[in-house]
């Protein structure tokens, strides 16, 4: 079932608001999750190491708005290459599949640190000790988004997902504060 979701932020003296679709009501769904990423890499491996995007869409019953962010993120962290509608598993992608959860988290951690948005958040955290959710959303907005998400709330959720997964950050939901993860302390 699909639900319409309305999100609004007050950011840099103006409101940013948007309607978007979510499939599962209250469940947090992000376009680029760890399980989806692994599923994509496995699918490519099973298809002989490469496939066109139309084939991936057919195999997964997922639409372009769900697949494209996944492909873009996977390419950004070096697990696949995408060229003229063809996605190809890289050697790093093959190795990623062979590793356990810890090895994969370490790989993602190193790759995230190469991204401007993460390096700035990490620098700010090292200076201030913690950041509020709104601070992080401002950094995401100033860097043009994250994970090719439709809106800033989704981008924030995606960044928290990957930041926490990789151990780079911790998120204190009760105080709405982001802190450095254990690997940095």
């Amino acid at each position: 079932m699909r639900w319409m979701r309305y999100t609004a932020f007050y950011l840099k003296d103006k409101f940013i608001y948007r309607w978007s679709y979510t499939k599962t009501g209250s469940m947090l769904e992000i376009p680029v999750s760890y399980s989806r990423l692994l599923g994509l890499l496995r699918l490519l491996r099973d298809l002989g190491g490469e496939a066109d995007v139309a084939k991936i869409s057919e195999e997964t019953d997922m639409h372009a708005d769900e697949i494209l962010p996944l492909l873009a993120f996977s390419e950004m962290i070096g697990l696949i290459s995408v060229d003229e509608g063809d996605a190809k598993l890289t050697e790093s992608g093959m190795n990623f599949l062979k590793q356990g959860h810890m090895g994969r988290a370490k790989y993602v951690r190193n790759k995230l640190m190469e991204l401007n948005v993460f390096s700035e958040i990490m620098n700010e955290l090292k200076k201030k000790g913690s950041l509020e959710k709104e601070d992080v959303i401002e950094i995401i907005a100033s860097k043009g988004g994250f994970c090719y998400c439709n809106n800033l709330e989704e981008a924030f959720n995606c960044l928290i997902h990957w930041g926490v997964y990789s151990g780079l950050i911790e998120y204190d939901r009760e105080e709405n504060l982001i802190r450095l993860g254990e690997v940095n302390t």
Binding site: T24, M27, S33, Y34, E59, A105, V164
Partner: protein
């Protein structure tokens, strides 16, 4: 390890008897992954609940290591389609819950070990509403396996997940089963024929209600399996032929 012998199940509906399952028999041996497939409403989940000891058969008997199942057995765990997480408990508390109910002293330590094994070690303070569907089912898997069951029952465990997430968890369940000596066997109910062929050693194919066993199909293919293999397609085709 598990014997289902001539099991039938009736429900009383509007004063009349509704026969759901008719004299079903099959066995599950140690080291096996068996799936139950059949049309919607054929009583697959009812059968699983009887094996879990939540419901009783109307006739016939189900035995686990030779003892008749009449109530939930601590050696049997279950994973649900709807994840069945407690909304107000953190991830670590969800996994600790069945351990504490059994009086296990180092519940937190064991819960942490299993969260680590399912890749959620960094998310132990999160609430279910802050998790994606795949992460919620990972919690469900950790919670079910933390009590070290011999038999794991799975009721449509991947049907509410998107296909990429589901495929990842299918592979991870097989890997966890192979790397967990205390977990002897898995019994899964699914309506997804390809999923059953991908994961199972044998598939019990049930008919429409009142369901009977149409055939028990052996899947003689090494793991990991590739859906694009010709033999894979042949097995899927055989089961669809039985059901149609």
């Amino acid at each position: 390890m598990l014997e289902v012998e001539g099991v039938s199940k009736y429900f009383i509906s509007d004063g009349s008897k509704l026969e759901v399952i008719r004299e079903i028999s099959f066995s599950l041996r140690e080291g096996e992954f068996v799936s139950i497939v059949g049309p919607s409403g054929c009583g697959k989940s009812t059968l699983l609940r009887m094996i879990a000891g939540i419901e009783r058969p109307s006739s016939g008997r189900i035995t686990f290591y030779g003892k008749e199942i009449s109530s939930p057995d601590p050696r049997i765990s279950m994973i649900f389609q709807s994840f069945a997480l407690v909304p107000w408990l953190k991830v670590i508390e969800q996994v600790e819950l069945p351990l504490r109910a059994r009086g296990v002293e180092n519940a937190k330590e064991i819960a942490r070990k299993w969260l680590n094994l399912v890749g959620l070690s960094e998310f132990e303070e999160f609430l279910p509403k802050e998790l994606s569907g795949g992460m919620r089912q990972r919690v469900g898997i950790a919670r079910a396996l933390a009590v070290e069951p011999s038999l794991l029952l799975m009721d449509e465990p991947f049907s509410s997940l998107d296909e990429l997430t589901a495929e990842t968890l299918r592979h991870e369940i097989i890997e966890l089963w192979k790397s967990t000596p205390s977990l002897k066997s898995i019994l899964m109910v699914t309506h997804n024929i390809e999923e059953a062929v991908l994961m199972s050693d044998r598939i019990v194919v049930l008919s429409r209600r009142p369901s009977v066993v149409l055939k028990i199909v052996n899947i003689d293919m090494p793991r990991p399996r590739n859906r694009r293999d010709e033999k894979f397609y042949d097995e899927v085709d055989e089961i669809y032929s039985l059901l149609s």
